[in-house]
């Protein structure tokens, strides 16, 4: 079922070649090898794989329950469980097959110094790119607390920029007032690309115990339920990115080729797949094939021609959303 290398699907992303526009999302595929347990799954079907959020020291993560299905989606509050950056660089990266795909580190921390130190450690490793997660809703310090404040976001990006010359991707939170302004500041601070969006904060309640189902009380909402929110945010960030030719990994609720195409049209150069893998671990080749068919039907030579081709309705047709 592996997608054969197909030049139509290849994407240039910050100088890296992704074999397909699909990117496996951080937190959904462990440290890159977990899904290879599944017969028929191959990392080769993804243009890149984002590893689990990594911090300076090992973190045990949150108490259970950590995941719960909600209508058209799910809540998670993993709490950045990870073995710490030294372990990841020394013990895990050497076991990954960089011939299969591009591997992207996902960096987190409770302080600007920690973000910078983790980034510096990854800079000194075979990792292909670094994604800074300033949008994790499930930790008390750092994460979304930084990502919702454009000043703080810019300071984190600036610090990480100084620590690496690898492609730097900033993962933006949807839980903020003006995502475009935040993106603008991150570009000034040296971000090479964006991941849009991380999860939305949410809650589920057990009415018998009258307690939140999730051990951490609140969690991040992902899956199809957040797709419309994600599409709008990608469109908004793309407006800021376009003049600088800065690419976006669009994500949030993609489960099929049509969803992926929507993100590309809205302005994404690559499309993230997270929750959909939980539904169907063999979804990658299906989406690749669907995108391929679409390109053929529309006489396009490359998926890159599709990015940002959104035709907005003219102002006269627009109505107030309320």
């Amino acid at each position: 079922m592996t997608t054969t290398t197909d030049s139509h699907l290849a994407v240039d992303f910050c100088g890296m070649t992704f074999n397909t526009p699909l990117v496996l999302l951080s937190g959904c595929v462990g440290f890159g090898e977990e899904y290879t347990r599944v017969r028929g799954f191959s990392n080769r079907d993804a243009g890149a794989v984002c590893l689990k959020g990594t911090t300076g020291q090992a973190r045990p993560g949150n108490p259970p329950h950590r995941v719960y299905e909600t209508p058209n989606g799910m809540l998670n509050a993993i709490g950045l469980q990870n073995p710490g950056v030294d372990w990841v660089v020394d013990e895990i990266l050497p076991t990954l097959d960089f011939g299969e795909t591009r591997f992207i580190a996902n960096v987190s921390g409770s302080s600007i110094e920690e973000y910078q130190a983790v980034t510096r450690r990854f800079n000194d490793s075979p990792i292909d790119a670094i994604e800074i997660n300033i949008s994790c809703p499930n930790v008390k310090e750092g994460g979304v607390a930084f990502g919702n404040d454009p000043d703080m976001s810019a300071r984190v990006v600036e610090a990480c920029r100084r620590a690496t010359d690898k492609p730097l991707i900033t993962k933006l939170s949807p839980n903020q007032t003006d995502i475009a302004e935040n993106a603008r500041r991150c570009i000034e601070a040296g971000s090479d690309a964006f991941a849009v969006i991380n999860t939305l904060m949410g809650m589920a309640i057990d009415i018998e115990s009258r307690s939140p189902v999730i051990g951490n009380n609140q969690g991040g909402l992902s899956g199809p339920a957040i797709k419309p929110v994600a599409l709008l945010k990608v469109h908004q960030v793309h407006q800021v990115c376009k003049p600088h030719a800065i690419p976006i990994i669009g994500q949030g609720g993609v489960t099929c080729a049509e969803d992926a195409l929507e993100f590309l049209i809205a302005g994404a150069s690559a499309v993230g797949i997270g929750t959909a893998l939980f539904y169907d671990p063999l979804v990658l080749p299906k989406i690749n094939l669907g995108i391929r068919d679409y390109l053929e039907r529309h006489g396009m030579q490359s998926v890159m021609q599709l990015t940002g081709t959104l035709q907005l309705n003219t102002p006269a047709q627009q109505r107030c959303a309320c």
């Binding site: 599944v38 259970p64 097959d97 011939g99 671990p281």
Partner: protein, 295 residues
Amino acid sequence: MNSNDNSHRDSIAVEEALILAHQAFEGDQYLLRVGAPQIAASARPGSFVHITCDRSRPLRRPISIMRVSAREGWVELLYKVVGEGTRLLARHQTGERLSVMGPIGQPFTVHPQRPRPLLIGGGIGMPPMIFVAESLQGDTRYRPFAILGSEAPFPFKPRPSRALVPGLDDEVIAAMPLLDDWGIPSRLTSQVARPGCHQGYVTDLARQWLESLDPQARGEVEILACGPHPMLEAVARLADAFDIPCQVSLEEFMACGVGGCAGCVVEVQTDNGPVMKRVCVDGPVFDARQVFPAA
């Protein structure tokens, strides 16, 4: 190239499994048999499948495997309706297909130096114990004994056992017919009075049986257990009291089922202190002492 040991790769199959039988029992319990030859071929006692209950609730649910036939290519599950996913699963009928992923997880292991495995299953924790029992059927090295407890009516018709179990009250004679047919003695417990069943906890009966053994025989016992968390904790305490090794199979909400999301963790004690282990791929079977450290 990859310098890693790749033995984990390709161990889990995803099959569009035909429902061969789907039978309802009292107490919202269902017996589901699906055609899934790849899973049947490599499943082991303690393995579970991750199943799409319904397209409208696409996050899969983990369900332990009760029986497989590698030759006939089927997998049998016993589940209880506990939430929205299993409620929707119960609606699917023979002839329909379900996406079933498996086998997943670290299985139970029996050890020849412990030839008297005591299998304890509570409620929907019974299925893996039946799988263990079937795997030991006809193996002359082992003399397993199963204690099954349920508050809901048993999803089979208990009958007086043909196998004698010394050390237990004479009136506790009801057994699971399938196990009896395999020549494996079993006894049943319930909080509710049921003919031939011990009225009380699985651990009461287990204690009675262990106390009846001489020290040498007791040294040959290993406990394997699956069931509700409080029951497992009581079983772990019992094992501790008798200084018997004990393996328990745990449950937790899951998302990926393959080790990718760390959504299913349980705290486990190790030599280096507590760590969070994933129930799906590090478990579901754990050493009871690691999960329930001695108080």
